[in-house]
């Protein structure tokens, strides 16, 4: 009973939601299904479980790290190597605000970018396959199923309005 991977390609999003429901009724587990598209569709449109979001927390912690770096540069370095200029105090508060703000934003931005790369690597449900028709505007339901059920599910999905049901290539980065 080997597992095979199938991809059903649809032209529009409405039959996709119906097809997902049918697949679920047929006993295919949520973790074995992935919906791939060239345009984002929110989870509630597709009727899929919500993805857990850690990105805002990664961004906030990056901003905090940036804040600390800015604070060190502005308040720490003058204490390490004091040099007096222009009658201003050694740790001037308004310039400290400017630099700390910039480093906080830098931390926020960089950590958001690194966070989105990190988060996208896991967790990802479903098999790791792809087909280039996705970027032509098709929406694909990618799922794992036992070999004997291929034909039955093939018919089911065609009846739901899939343009094609194919066995896609393994995806290599």
């Amino acid at each position: 009973m080997t597992a095979k991977v199938l991809m059903a390609l649809f032209d529009r999003v409405d039959p996709v939601a119906e097809a997902l429901e049918k697949l679920r009724q047929q006993g295919i587990d949520e973790h074995d299904i992935a919906v791939i598209s060239g345009v984002p569709y929110p989870a509630r449109v597709l009727g899929r479980p919500m993805v857990w979001e850690r990105l805002p927390w990664i961004a906030l912690s990056g901003a905090f790290v940036g804040f600390l770096i800015g604070l060190f540069l502005n308040a720490g370095t003058p204490l390490l190597y004091p040099i007096r200029v222009g009658g201003q105090p050694l740790i001037p508060l308004p310039p400290t605000a400017v630099i700390t703000y910039e480093f906080t934003m830098m931390g926020l931005i960089v950590s958001t970018f690194l966070g989105v790369l990190w988060e996208s690597t896991f967790p990802s449900f479903g098999p790791k396959h792809y087909h280039s028709e996705i970027s032509n505007g098709r929406i694909g339901i990618l799922f794992r199923c036992p070999e004997e059920r291929i034909h039955e599910l093939h018919e089911l999905l065609r009846a739901q309005g899939a343009q094609e049901v194919i066995e896609p290539e393994e995806w290599t980065l």
Partner: protein, 237 residues
């Protein structure tokens, strides 16, 4: 060196005695290795004088009067040039209590020059030459600057240091009048007097209390260390 903290080096310039002869300007050039840039560059406004004698004309011909005022770096207590240098090439020295310029730290952003209300700073636009035999009279106590570096009057800090070393060697304090910047030394009318304001018995301390005393652009709050004594009518026939 720390016994020499707490000096308040001050220059008092009596505008009544100043004749505008510019001997001070030449002396400053000689003492501080200030280059001569040539006529074309001066016409463009790139003269390197650390100390300049400004001249203002008053009145209509034939009743024209000229007023002179020698202006150099005012060694401000709250120097506006200091906070804006991105690399700390100019800062307020705590020991000498002067606004110092560190030549080998300067990267030449020229921000300090823009922020000086007295336009007292000059910039090395090129690598200036000291053609023979001028190179033989360079002062070994003062760096010769390359292109891209800001410079300004330092109250002849090399002479201050020499006086401090001499005083240390003899185990005494610096006497009033022992430190003479090149400009004060060369002034024929003794219009420029240099001394330590923290010493109540120095000449500058008594001159400062004159009714004629004022500081340039005082309202800006820079707290300059150069005190001028207001001149009377100076006639140029």
């Amino acid at each position: 060196m720390s016994e020499h903290e707490g000096h308040r080096w001050t220059m008092v310039i009596d505008l009544d005695k100043c004749t505008g002869c510019q001997a001070c300007v030449v002396a400053c050039h000689a003492e501080n290795n200030v280059p001569v840039v040539g006529e074309d560059e001066v016409r463009m406004g790139r003269a390197m004088h650390w100390l300049r004698v400004e001249r203002y004309w008053e009145g209509e011909y034939p009743n024209v009067r000229a007023r002179f005022i020698p202006i150099m770096c005012q060694q401000c207590e709250n120097a506006p040039c200091e906070p804006v240098c991105p690399v700390f090439a100019t800062y307020h020295s705590q020991v000498e209590n002067l606004n110092v310029q560190v030549y080998n730290r300067c990267i030449g952003t020229r921000y300090c020059a823009n922020n000086c209300p007295y336009i007292a700073r000059t910039f090395n636009w090129f690598d200036y030459e000291f053609p023979e035999p001028l190179n033989e009279q360079l002062n070994p106590d003062v760096t010769v600057r390359r292109r891209g570096i800001m410079e300004k009057c330092t109250f002849c800090i090399q002479r201050i240091h020499r006086a401090e070393e001499a005083a240390d060697a003899e185990g005494r304090a610096i006497r009033d009048g022992e430190v003479q910047p090149a400009c004060a030394q060369s002034c024929p009318t003794e219009a420029m007097v240099f001394g330590d304001l923290s010493d109540p018995k120095s000449r500058v301390s008594s001159l400062v209390h004159s009714r004629r005393s004022f500081r340039l652009l005082e309202e800006l709050g820079t707290e300059p260390a150069v005190i001028y004594l207001k001149g009377g009518q100076v006639h140029v026939v």
